[in-house]
């Protein structure tokens, strides 16, 4: 960090950081500590009796095949949302970069799903795919496909992925488009003179130059798929059928809220905390590095 001048007043900086630190302490650090403690207890629902059981809750969840399969579900869900989200938005951005007429209109029309809440995206698509009255259900039936995501696990997964990706494409599109626009025209013209067609230019020049953006979006999308998609699952499938859309975060909610099992929910929360720490470290290491080489 470069040398810079600073103010030297003594009390003011403390007052300035105080609000954020106070809220951080009360609503972040204290509950996080509580979660760690609760993970080592078994309690009845009302908390009237509480017994320290060490790592027993952790042992129980890691030997529970359903908890382990929810890891699986989460990874599949994350991968589908991230990969399709990135590929589709990249395709759209590349095309928007190519066309000169109407680019602004396309951009405006494509970015506004960012404003839509994930829960609402889920409601919209659930309505279209409603097993009884959905428009898409009706159309699929004409081709002989029976749509019932209350019964079919893969269809349920498809629905939540679709709603999640629909919303996220706009965010990814913004960044890819800006990234493509920032590529110097001279580079592209030089390649064209050398005889490279648009497809070759894309894969040879644009894509490598986009790699910092792609990496950034990759981490953002993974975090989004992990956490911000809880509303999508809750609104569209409720984790069903038969656990096929129960991701890690959904399980924590379901077990704590419906199952009233604070110990198990706490242990799962701790596991999730570890995963988030890992993801954050990755994100910051690579973003910081990216800042350096841009």
């Amino acid at each position: 960090m470069e040398k810079r001048s600073r103010f030297n007043t003594s009390l003011l900086p403390y007052l300035l950081v105080a609000p954020q630190l106070a809220i951080t302490a009360i609503f972040f650090l204290w509950p996080a500590g509580e979660a760690l403690w609760q993970a080592t207890q078994t309690q009845d629902a009302f908390g009237t009796s509480s017994e320290f059981v060490g790592l027993a809750n952790f042992k129980q969840i890691f030997t529970d095949p359903l908890y382990l399969s929810s890891f699986n579900t989460t990874i599949i869900f994350c991968t589908l949302v991230t990969v399709s989200g990135l590929v589709i938005s990249l395709l759209l951005a590349a095309c928007a970069d190519r066309v000169t007429r109407g680019a602004k209109t396309y951009q405006t029309l494509l970015i506004w799903p960012y404003a839509v809440a994930p829960a609402i995206a889920a409601v919209l698509w659930s309505f279209l795919f409603n097993p009884s009255i959905g428009l898409v259900t009706y159309a699929l039936a004409k081709y002989g496909i029976v749509w019932n995501h209350a019964l079919n696990g893969s269809q349920a997964m498809f629905l939540v992925v679709l709603a999640s990706v629909w919303k996220q494409v706009s965010y990814n599109f913004l960044f890819f488009y800006a990234g493509l626009q920032a590529i110097p025209r001279s580079l592209i013209e030089a390649a064209a003179i050398d005889g490279a067609g648009p497809v070759r230019r894309f894969f040879g020049i644009a894509l490598p130059l986009l790699s910092p953006t792609s990496f950034f979006l990759l981490t953002v999308n993974v975090v989004y798929a992990f956490f911000d998609t809880f509303p999508v699952i809750d609104a569209a499938t409720g984790g069903g059928p038969a656990q096929s859309t129960k991701t890690l975060i959904y399980k924590i909610f379901a077990e704590g809220f419906q199952g009233l099992d604070i110990g198990s929910s706490g242990a799962q929360s701790v596991v999730l905390m570890v995963i988030v720490v890992a993801l954050t470290v990755v994100q910051f290491r690579f973003i910081e590095r990216r800042v350096q080489y841009s």
């Binding site: 403390y14 300035l16 829960a119 609402i120 159309a139 800006a178 909610f253 929360s269 954050t280």
Partner: protein, 281 residues
């Protein structure tokens, strides 16, 4: 445009048009459904032509709600608005103050403060759901605006954004202020704040949408229907089958709930796009 490849251009336009259609289609259908009466919306297949009942649906849902929630939707929209505004303004103010302190001051425990704020990045609400609910409950803040907003106001991302921006401000600015005899607060108000306008605008859009679209937290903290927010309220309108879902009303509510964030994004599109993309550089 480098060379003229008609076919390729048409392909690109086609792709973009398909993209736009897929993006717009669900909302168009929602709009159609919102204009229909109960009987019309249950028609299979749904008509692709809007009907005429939009205003009565809006009136009905505003005052009566629907389904098991049956709480006036107008009230829920108000709750969402309060929540979004308090969170966005609160976040911006608090983060700006913290970032200002961290960048422009030298004080003991500065690094500790920085790291404590950083840690919150690793503690999204989902990993501490129930303890946070208990803390809020023991402070008697359940079912209050304070409980809905305060826990979400401390944001490390906003602080880092401001920090990064402040670090790009040249030293000369501060020197000039010192020479003029301006104190720290004067410098903040007269110099730093105006320069941060783009960042603030972008952050406002982002945090307003964040606050408006909150789902998990309102579910946990508001059990009174009168304190429920719009986004959550819509989900609870979808019946489990015993009470038929009044889809025409649900879609009306969905449209209403989408309007404010949409208005914010579209009206501030320029700053928002610039601020968002620049902030990650």
């Amino acid at each position: 445009m480098i060379e003229n490849r008609r076919g390729f251009d048409l392909f690109c336009h086609a792709v973009l048009i398909v993209g736009v259609v897929l993006v717009v289609f669900p909302v168009y259908i929602a709009f159609c459904a919102a204009t229909m009466s109960e009987a019309e919306v249950f028609n299979v297949p749904l008509s692709l032509v809007p009907s005429t009942h939009l205003f009565e649906n809006v009136a009905h849902i505003w005052t009566h709600g629907s389904g098991s929630a049956a709480s006036p939707f107008g009230r829920m929209l108000m709750n969402s608005l309060v929540m979004a505004l308090v969170i966005s303004i609160g976040k911006i103010v608090i983060s700006m103050l913290s970032a200002y302190a961290i960048v422009f001051f030298r004080f003991p425990f500065k690094n500790l403060a920085f790291w404590l704020i950083f840690i919150t990045l690793m503690l999204p609400v989902e990993v501490r759901i129930f303890p946070t609910v208990q803390v809020v409950s023991s402070m008697h803040m359940s079912n209050t605006y304070a409980g809905l907003t305060l826990p979400l106001i401390a944001s490390a991302t906003a602080t880092f954004l401001f920090r990064q921006f402040f670090m790009t401000l040249p030293d000369e600015l501060m020197e000039a202020a010192r020479i003029d005899g301006a104190g720290a607060l004067r410098f903040l108000w007269d110099v730093v704040l105006p320069l941060s306008k783009t960042n603030i605008a972008a952050l406002f859009v982002i945090t307003f949408i964040y606050g408006w679209n909150q789902y998990l937290w309102p579910i946990l903290i508001s059990s009174d229907q009168s304190m429920q927010t719009a986004v959550v309220g819509i989900k609870s309108m979808i019946g489990s089958g015993d009470t038929a879902t009044e889809w025409h009303l649900v879609m009306t509510a969905t449209l209403l709930a989408m309007l404010p964030p949409l208005a914010v994004v579209l009206s501030m599109q320029r700053w928002f796009v610039r601020g968002l993309v620049d902030s990650e550089k």
